[in-house]
C-alpha cells in the first residue's frame, strides 16, 4: 500500500512508531521459542540457578537423553512414515476429486454438496471423532499401529486437499487440457501432463498444509496409539510431561525437536505457506 505524502517529520515519526510496535510484536512472538531453546541447552544445575537469557554452559546432554532413554528415534520415524504415506495418499485421491468438482456439473447438485461437505469435515473438532474411531479401530485390531494412523490421517487430509485443489484447478483454463485431449491424451494423461504442472504452486501449498496438520496432530495419535512403536512426535513430547518429577531439560529439548521440522519448513517455503494456513478462506 503506498503512502500519501504528509509532512516529512510526522511521517518519519509515524514510521518509527510502526517499526517499534512491530519489533515488540515480533519479540512477543519469538521470545518464547528462545526460552525453550535456551532451557534445552542448559545443564540441570543452570536451569535452576535463576533467569539466564543465554546458556552459561552449552550442553547437548538433554538431546542425547531424549534419543537414548526417551525413544525419540522411534517417535520421529513413526511421524515421518505416517506423514509421508498419508499425505501422499490424500493428495492423490483428493486431487482427482477436486478435478472432478472443478470440471463437471453433477446431478442433483452433488458437486456443491460434496464441496461444502468436505469443508465441514475439516472443521469438526478432533475430540468428536476420536472416541468412535477408538472403538472402531479396537474392533479391527488397528489400535497402536502406524497403519491405523495412516488410514485416518489420509481420510481427514483428503477434505482439505479437495477444498483447496478445487479452487486452484478452477483457475486453470479448460482450453489447455482440451487441446491436449485433441492431440490424443486421455483425460487423466492430460491432467497429469498439462494441468498439474500449471497447478503446481497450489499443489505445493496444499501439501505443505497437509504435512503440517498431520505432523502436528495430537489428539488422534494420543488416543489411538499407546507405545513408542506407533506413537508420533507430539505424543512423545507429551509423555515427558506426565512424569511426576518433571525433567525440564529433556522436556525443552523435546519441544525443540517437535517444533524444528515445521519451523525449518516454514522458513524455506514461506511464500507458499500463507494460502495453506488460511484454509483457503481468502483467495
Amino acid at each position: 500500500m503506498r503512502r500519501g505524502s504528509s509532512a516529512p517529520m510526522s511521517a518519519r515519526a509515524g514510521r518509527v512508531a510502526i517499526y517499534a510496535t512491530l519489533a515488540l510484536a515480533i519479540l512477543v512472538a519469538l521470545f518464547p521459542f528462545w526460552w525453550m531453546i535456551d532451557t534445552s541447552l542448559k545443564r540441570p544445575v543452570d536451569i535452576f540457578s535463576g533467569v539466564a537469557l543465554w546458556p552459561q554452559h552449552v550442553t547437548g546432554s538433554n538431546y542425547h537423553r531424549l534419543f537414548a532413554s526417551y525413544h525419540f528415534g522411534s517417535f520421529l520415524l513413526n511421524s515421518v512414515v505416517v506423514v509421508a504415506v498419508s499425505v501422499t495418499a490424500s493428495l492423490l485421491i483428493g486431487t482427482l476429486a477436486a478435478y472432478g468438482l472443478a470440471r463437471f456439473r453433477l446431478r442433483f447438485g452433488i458437486d456443491r454438496l460434496a464441496l461444502y461437505g468436505v469443508l465441514l469435515v475439516r472443521m469438526l473438532p478432533g475430540i468428536l471423532l476420536v472416541i468412535p474411531l477408538y472403538i472402531v479401530l479396537a474392533k479391527w485390531g488397528l489400535l497402536n499401529t502406524r497403519l491405523g494412523l495412516i488410514l485416518i490421517y489420509a481420510g481427514l487430509n483428503t477434505s482439505f486437499v479437495v477444498w483447496m485443489m478445487q479452487s486452484f484447478l478452477e483457475d486453470i483454463p479448460r482450453d489447455i487440457e482440451e487441446a491436449a485431449m485433441v492431440d490424443g491424451d486421455s483425460r487423466l494423461t492430460a491432467l497429469r501432463r498439462v494441468v498439474l504442472p500449471l497447478a503446481a504452486p497450489g499443489l505445493i501449498a496444499t501439501a505443505i498444509f497437509a504435512v503440517i496438520a498431520t505432523y502436528n496432530d495430537f489428539i488422534i495419535a494420543l488416543t489411538l496409539t499407546s507405545t513408542p512403536s506407533a506413537q508420533t512426535v507430539p505424543v512423545g513430547v507429551s509423555t515427558l510431561i506426565g512424569k511426576i518429577q518433571i525433567e525440564w531439560g529433556p522436556m525443552a529439548a523435546a519441544g525443540v525437536v517437535g517444533a524444528m521440522p515445521i519451523v525449518l519448513f516454514a522458513l524455506v517455503v514461506q511464500r507458499h505457506f500463507v494460502r495453506g494456513l488460511t484454509l483457503g478462506a481468502v483467495k
Binding site: 510502526i18 458437486d111 469438526l124 475430540i127 477434505s159 522436556m251
Partner: protein
C-alpha cells in the same frame, strides 16, 4: 487406471456434462469414500454410542436417552460449558482486535516485509503440544520467566498455573499467542485484495485516517473478518492439546473445557456413551456456526476472486 473417454472438444458447457457421464463420479468416489469412512461413519457410530450404555468400555446395550438425561443433570458438564464459552469469547475477541491491528500495521510497504510476516506467524505453525511445552517452561514457578518478570515490575509473583483464575487467564494468553497470527494472516490477505483507490484518496491526516478506516476499510473488510472470526471460534471450541499439556483442566475444574471433560469421561472413566452424548450436543451447536462459516466463505471467495 485410465478412464476411457473420447477426446472431443466441442463448445464447453453442455458437452462436458454429457460425455463420459461416469467420469466425474469415478473421480470423486475414492475421496468421498475415504472421507465418509473417517467422518460420517464415526459420527453415526458416535450417535449410536450416545444411546448405549458402556461399562468398563464394553457395550452393555441400549440405554435410551439415559446418557443425555445424565449429561443434562450433570453440574460438572454445565460448568465445562460455561468455561468453554468464556474461554472462546474472551480469547477470540482479543485475537480479533490484535490480529486486525497487526494486519493494518503490516499491510503497507515495509522493509523485511516477508521476514516480519513469517516471524509473526511462527507460533501458529508449530504443534499445539509444543506450544503447551513452551508455556509450561515460561509459567513454571521454579525455572520459568513469568514470575521473575512480575517481580521485576514490582508485582506479586502470580504462579500462573497454581490458581484457578490465573490458570484460566494463562490459557487465554497462550491461545492469543498461538492464534492471533491466524486472524492476522486472513485479514492481511483480505487487505491486500482490496481496491486501493478509495484508501489512497482518503489518506490524509490522523483524524482523516481513522475516519477512512471506519468508512472504507472496515466495511470492505467485513466479509473476510466474519470468516476469520467464525473459523477461529469453531477451532477454539475444540481446543484440547494445549490445555491437556498445561493444566489437564485443573487446578480443580477451573480450566476444564468440554473437550477435556469428554476426553476424561471417555478415556479415564470409559463412559463412552456419556462422553458421546456431550459431544453430540456440542456438535448440534457447532453445526450452526459451521453452516455460517460455509456461507461466509462461499461469499468471500466469490467476492474476492
Amino acid at each position: 487406471m485410465a478412464v476411457a473417454e473420447p477426446a472431443v472438444a466441442e463448445d464447453a458447457g453442455r458437452a462436458w456434462r454429457l460425455r463420459g457421464a461416469a467420469t466425474p463420479y469415478l473421480l470423486l468416489a475414492p475421496a468421498l469414500l475415504a472421507l465418509a469412512a473417517v467422518s460420517l461413519y464415526p459420527i453415526f457410530y458416535g450417535i449410536r454410542a450416545s444411546f448405549h450404555r458402556y461399562r468398563y468400555g464394553i457395550d452393555m446395550g441400549s440405554a435410551g436417552t439415559q446418557n443425555y438425561v445424565n449429561v443434562y443433570h450433570d453440574p460438572v458438564f454445565w460448568q465445562a460449558v460455561k468455561t468453554t464459552a468464556k474461554f472462546v469469547v474472551i480469547a477470540v475477541s482479543i485475537e480479533t482486535l490484535l490480529g486486525l491491528a497487526l494486519a493494518l500495521l503490516v499491510a503497507r510497504e515495509l522493509r523485511f516485509a516477508s521476514w516480519i510476516r513469517v516471524s509473526l506467524i511462527l507460533p501458529m505453525t508449530i504443534a499445539p503440544v509444543v506450544v503447551g511445552v513452551i508455556w509450561r517452561l515460561l509459567f513454571a514457578s521454579d525455572i520459568g520467566i513469568v514470575n521473575p518478570l512480575f517481580s521485576w515490575f514490582g508485582l506479586a509473583q502470580p504462579n500462573v498455573l497454581a490458581h484457578g483464575t490465573s490458570a484460566f487467564l494463562g490459557l487465554v494468553a497462550v491461545d492469543t499467542w498461538e492464534w492471533t497470527p491466524l486472524i492476522f494472516l486472513i485479514l492481511l490477505a483480505g487487505l491486500h485484495s482490496m481496491p486501493q483507490d478509495p484508501l489512497e484518496a482518503a489518506q490524509v491526516d490522523g483524524a482523516g485516517r481513522v475516519q477512512a478506516f471506519f468508512h472504507h476499510t472496515l466495511p470492505l473488510l467485513k466479509p473476510v473478518l466474519l470468516v476469520a472470526i467464525v473459523l477461529r471460534t469453531i477451532d477454539a471450541v475444540g481446543t484440547f492439546d494445549q490445555v491437556f499439556v498445561l493444566t489437564k483442566g485443573g487446578p480443580g475444574t477451573s480450566t476444564q473445557l468440554i473437550s477435556i471433560y469428554s476426553y476424561n469421561t471417555a478415556f479415564l472413566f470409559t463412559q463412552y456413551g456419556q462422553a458421546m452424548a456431550m459431544l453430540i450436543a456440542l456438535l448440534a451447536c457447532l453445526l450452526l456456526l459451521m453452516a455460517a462459516a460455509v456461507r461466509f466463505m462461499r461469499r468471500t471467495s466469490e467476492a474476492v476472486a
